[in-house]
Amino acid sequence: MALITALGVAVLTAALSKLLAEEIADWSAWLIRRLTKTAVSRLPENQRERYSEEWESDLNERPGRIMKLRSAAGFLRAAFRIYLIDERNQYVERWLQRIRQADQSYARAAAAVNALQSGGLCDFNESLRSGVDFLQLRLKEAEEIQRSLESNVRDMPGPVQFAAMKKLFARRIREIDERFDRILRQAEQIAQDSDQMVQTLRKRKRTD
């Protein structure tokens, strides 16, 4: 009787173990899919398609369910960090774009100042010399401010620190944004003023 009971328990244990193993396998497969899907949904929109496919192939290359599960859990962390990196890069790119735009305006203004000085336009009217000098001074000042902003962008903290900074110093970020806007407007104004000055002087020289 005891033997039959022991045999019955053994059969039942084996059946339950098999069932449990199958259940765990099914659950882990579901969990891996779920984790990967959640990670992909947390990525910046333009990266989702790529990483969805790339991470699927990554999981395919990993042997065993535990390794796959570990990798899928890592995707969540990766997605969070990629999101932060992308966000920071967008700020940097936006500011660098403004620096490039300001650079173009400064180049225009510098060319105008050059034309005023080397083309003999200044000699035409002595009183306009002070105007050119003033323009040159503004240009120099604006360029210095721009250089300091440029170094701010270069020395920007890493993505995680930047994310924290963005929350803690939202006002400071807004100020930097506004400062860039002002610099850009100022650069464009300087460029327009110098263009205008060159045109006016050329016109007056022709009529005289």
């Binding site: 990554d58 290359e61 990798s71 890592g74 990766a78 990629i82």
Partner: protein, 84 residues
């Protein structure tokens, strides 16, 4: 990461460097954004392969140059040390 013709997939780099996926992919993303590393999809058809396409990473010329410089920055100060 060595310079191979096809490059290495993320999982292969992870195995070589012992980096977990949560650390590895953000690093690759940053290196790619900086132009130090480039990546491309496997050219074979995934249906024929019977598995998802892999994305291969390769170091760029700029990346190799920067890596050499960074390596020198780390190694040079260590050369003066005496391990006793």
């Amino acid at each position: 990461m060595s310079r191979t013709e096809d490059g290495l997939s993320g999982a292969e780099i992870g195995r070589t460097t012992s980096l977990a996926s949560g650390t590895l992919y953000p690093i690759l993303f940053r290196l790619e954004e900086a132009g130090w590393v480039e990546s491309r999809w496997e050219t074979e058809d995934p249906h024929e392969l019977g598995r998802p396409r892999r994305r291969f990473y390769n170091i760029t010329g700029l990346g190799a140059k920067k890596a050499r410089l960074s390596f020198r920055e780390v190694i040079l100060p260590l050369e003066g040390l005496a391990w006793r």
